[in-house]
Every structure is written in C-alpha cells, then in structure tokens.
C-alpha cells in the first residue's frame, strides 16, 4: 500500500465511523479530489461532509477552530505547506491558545493536513518545509508520518487527538510503498507517551549501533539506501524515526542516542534554527559526557529553493549528506 492510499483509506474510515469529522479545503470536489488526490473519492461519497472552499486559508483555519470548539473534528487540507504562513495567526493566537487561556474548559481538536517539501521543481513558494516556524508554538502538535508507519493510522490518531495538530505529508512519499520491512533491515515500532509511533530501523542484528540517525517525514525515503550502504561499510546505524516531531518523544530519542553516543539529525528544512538544533541542544543537556562526538545536523542550505533541477539539488539535503554526516561523527 502506498503512503497516499494509506492516508486516503484512513480518512475514509474516520468519516465512516465519526459524523463529527468534516473534511474541507481547496479543490476537494471529485473527480479532481484535491491537488495531490489524498481525498479522492471522499467528496463523492460524503458530499455533505467534504467541502471544497474558497482560497481563504486564514479564514478556513479560523473556521476549523470554531468547528472544533463546538464538538466537531475538522480536518482542513492546506494545498501546499508553504501556505501555512497564511494560517499562522489562527494557529498561534487562536487554536493554540483557547484550551489553556480558557482554563481547560474547551478543546480544539483541529487537524491541518498539508503536503510539504521539495524535489519536484515547484520552486521557491511551493517546495518548503516551514514547520520550524511552528515548532516554537506551545501546545500544538506537529506530526509527520514516515514510510515506516501506517500513515492512515497516524492520521486517525491525529484527528482523535484533542490538541491542535499540524499533519505534514511529504509530497515525494505519496507514491511510495509503506515499509514495514526492507531488505536486510530490522524495523521495530514503539509508541510514545501520546500514542504516536516511533520507528526504530537498524542495519545490524546484534550489539550496539555505531551511530544513531534521527530523522522524520520525507527524509525517511533515504533511510533504506543509507542504512544498506553503511552496512556495506560495516557501520551499524540505528535510525530513530518519530512521527510526533513536536513535542518531542524525547525519552525515546535519548535512549536511541545513548546506545551509540553518536548522533546525526536530518531534516529537509533549512539547517539552522530548526528541529535538529533543538534535538542537539537537548542531547547535550541530557547526555553530556556520554556523547562520543558532537551532534551533527543535516538540513537544507538556508536560501530560497530554486526551481531548476540542478539548483534545487544543490540546496536540499540528500542521502549523501546523511552519509557524510555519519562518517563525520565517526572520525
């Protein structure tokens, strides 16, 4: 089953089971079925509960907030993750605030689904991973399913979560098959305290890893090839892949890091001020003295993502960047 098929069937199951689930966003009318087709067939089968909308991301986010306050579980599709900037105020100053500022008398179970990331030549405003702009917002959750989990099940968990959830789907994963097992690799899934899965993928059978790779979302498309190549080099790598990326299931990350003492954090967003920076800081706070090398970060060059293929490749992180970082922490 592909990542996209999993999401589509996860949404369908939710709609069949829960009348409170309302799906809305731009261009959701069938037969078009959304820009990336994640909702295809749903509007046809649930015409009252799948709404195609005007191009008004800010108001749509506010409408989701209002629906959620009154007992619904809205699932809002934002066509490109880049457009989340238009939703910012309704997330930061409304959806994320209501529960605590109203003294825990309400919940705001909104899920915003959105395709993120580059690699398709869409250029500066349709290729970004801007989630780091939202990671500093207290009380929201950011969830990014990888290839190593059942994306549809994770979406279900997000929709049933009583907190405001940003749900990030990487465009390049949609057509790929989910990976419950891959040649020569061990895949184990554990649930974090909030019930979201974290995958632990390894290229060795026994003993301790040499390096722990922490990554999420779209970057997981590189995990199989990187781990296989490292196996050829006789480097044992444990990849720790959370789906809940904010707040961090840090106990799981720390124990995975502690097994090797060498950590590489890889994300597709700009290298600086990001997820990797937070993880590196917390690793040194909790594992200082046990780390055997400085934490290395992998991310995009902090610059506009250009449209031309060769230029885009020069900006976005790839498998070779992860491999080089692994060699670096082993020096």
């Amino acid at each position: 089953m592909t990542y996209l098929e999993s999401l589509n069937s996860g949404l369908r199951e939710l709609m069949e089971e829960m009348p409170q689930v309302i799906v809305f966003g731009e261009d959701l009318l069938d037969p078009y079925g959304g820009a990336f087709k994640v909702t295809r067939g749903l509007q046809r089968d649930f015409p009252q509960r799948v709404l195609t909308t005007p191009i008004s991301e800010a108001a749509l986010t506010g409408i989701a907030n209002g629906m959620a306050l009154r007992g619904l579980r809205p699932v809002l599709e934002i066509m490109f993750g880049d457009f989340l900037s238009l939703c910012m105020d309704q997330i930061l100053n409304h959806g994320a605030k209501f529960r605590t500022m109203y003294n825990n008398t309400v919940t705001v179970p909104v899920t915003i689904r959105t395709p993120v990331g580059g690699g398709r030549g869409y250029g500066p405003t349709h290729s970004q991973c801007i989630e780091k702009l939202f990671m500093g917002i207290p009380e929201i959750r950011i969830v990014a399913p990888s290839l190593f989990c059942d994306a549809g099940r994770v979406l279900r968990h997000a929709v049933l979560d009583d907190k405001f959830v940003l749900f990030l789907e990487h465009k390049l994963l949609y057509s790929l098959d989910l990976l419950s097992a891959a040649a020569g690799l061990g895949v184990e899934t554990v649930k974090d305290e909030l019930g979201y899965p974290t995958a632990l993928v390894r290229n060795y059978d026994s003993g301790y890893p040499d390096v722990t790779l922490i990554t999420y979302g779209g970057m997981t498309r590189f995990v199989v090839s990187v781990l296989q190549r490292m196996a050829e080099e006789e480097i044992k790598v444990l990849a720790c892949i959370p789906t809940l990326i904010k707040p961090l299931p840090f106990d799981l990350l720390r124990s995975a890091a502690d097994r090797s003492g060498r950590v590489v954090v890889a994300e597709e967003g700009g290298l600086h001020w990001g997820w990797g920076a937070e993880i590196a800081a917390r690793m040194q706070e909790s594992l200082f003295g046990r780390l055997r090398a400085a934490v290395r970060r992998v991310g995009a060059v902090d610059i506009v993502i250009p449209a031309a293929r060769t230029l885009e490749r020069a900006v976005l992180p790839a498998d070779t960047d992860i491999e080089n970082a692994i060699f670096e922490v082993l020096k």
């Binding site: 005007p54 409408i63 629906m67 009154r70 409304h94 309400v106 707040p247």
Partner: protein, 311 residues
Amino acid sequence: MLTDDLLWMLYRRMFQIRYVEESFLRLYDRGLIFGTVHTCIGQEVSAVAVAQALDADKDIVWSNHRGHGHYLAFTGDLKGLVSELLGKASGVCAGIGGSQHLHSGNFYSNGILGGTVPCAVGCAYAEKYKGSGGIVAVYFGDGALAEGIVYESFNIASLWELPVLFVLEDNGIAQSTPKQYEHAGEFAARGESFGIQTTRMHTGDVLTVYGASCSIVDEIRRVSRPQLLVLNTHRFAPHSKGDDTRDPKEILALRSRDPIGLHREQLRACDEERLDRLEHEVVHQIDACVAAAIVDDGLEPDQFLANSDSR
C-alpha cells in the same frame, strides 16, 4: 414582556455594565488591575440590545478586546468577570485569560482584531450541522473591519448560508485613529457586496435596537443566512487607560447624548423612587462583588504550569 418592564430591565443591564466599567477604571487606578482594561462606556446599548435578542441556551456570542459589556449582557456572570479582571482563581478563566480572553458557556472572546470572525463562522457551521437551532453573534469594531480575514469570513458565511449575525460596533475611532484615516467606501456596502443583508442604525435608543435585533435574529434563525448589523455608537472613555487624545469638548458633546442618560431621564419621570432603588441595588451588588473578589486568592503558579507540554 410588557414594554414598561422591558424598559426597566434594559436600563438595569446597561447601568450595571456602565457601573462595572467605571469600577474597573477605579480599580486600575488603585493598582488592583494588572495589565490593561478596555471599557465600553458609551457603547452599552449594542451589548444589551443584541444579547437580549439571543437565546443564551443555544446561541453563541463571540466578542473582542472591548467585551466586558458583551459578556455581562449575555452571561450575567458578574462575579466571574470581576474576579477575572482582578486576576483571581475565582475568575471565569481563573485569571489566565484576563480582560480580553473570556469564555463561559456559549460566550467566547479574544484579543486579536478580526480573528474572532472566522471562529464565529466555524461555530455557526457546527451548530447548523448539528441542527441545534443556535445562531452566532460576533461583535467587532470599525477598526477590525480593516482586517482581511473579516472579508474572507463574510464570503464563506454567505456562500455556505450560515446563521451568523455580524455586529459591527462603529464607534468611529480605532484606538486613537479616526475612521477617515482608516477606511474608504461605505460600511453597509461591505456586507451587501457579499450578499449579506445589512441593517444600519444608531444606538441612541435601546428599545429600537432591541426590536431590530429581535427581527434580525428571528430571520437568521428561520432562513439560515448571515446578516450584518452596523451600529453607530460612541466610546466616551479612552481606548484603554489615559490614552485619549480627543478634544475633551468633543467627548462632552458625546456624553450629552448618552443613551443611558436619556433612558434614565425617561424612567426618572416615570418613577423616581423605583429608579433610585434599582441603581442602589446594582451598585451595592457590584461593590460587594468587587470587595469579595479583592480578597480572593489567585491561581497557584504550579497549578497553572502543569498545563505546559514542555517535554
């Protein structure tokens, strides 16, 4: 309700709001209110007339930074409001929200101008979807009308035929900036251009505004379409505290046409003793409420910080 009783009841509500707001200004001067306070002194008619037309059991109100009057008129929760302003655990949001961030039952407010409008539209969607029969009234001022999200919300509320009453309290001034520096065009045309039926009226007489609000609310409930009610009103007090740069003569002139004052004269002519009794009761109730709230405890910081999801 008989018109006579209604007049007394509406006056009681307006007078209560006026006296509470004046009390807040005095408490602020005494250093007992931390932060800021935006009073609706002069604008009580819109709060009372619209709230009175709603059904508090099923309808919903969204309010803004100047929402104490809206809150009192719709919920009647004097103690919760006073304690909230004083930062006490007994406040409606335990002192976490403060003046601009109130929620109780079907009442919600937030301090981001215009940002409440789509939330109100989303609530209206939910109530229509659930078939509750409730409608949503959302108050915003002429200042907020410059926010783009308001127009996105007008469009969707009309397109999706949602039961929303947009209440534009046009006091002609956005914080310190007169309307002519903020807006081009006509306010009523804003709603009409989205197919939203619009009513414009002055707030000189509460009974007239109440009557119009009842008709509008009934119509929204019956046909499930949004409407816009533009209420011309006047703010006598500063935006918040001590930040009024208007000519005092201008404010005096506004106060000479105070809708509460005019209403009061009418009642005084009718039954002076009853009026005195009413005012005495309201003042006593509020003073007692304030005195009690002042000695209440605040929420324990540890109890509040337990909400954090820092992990």
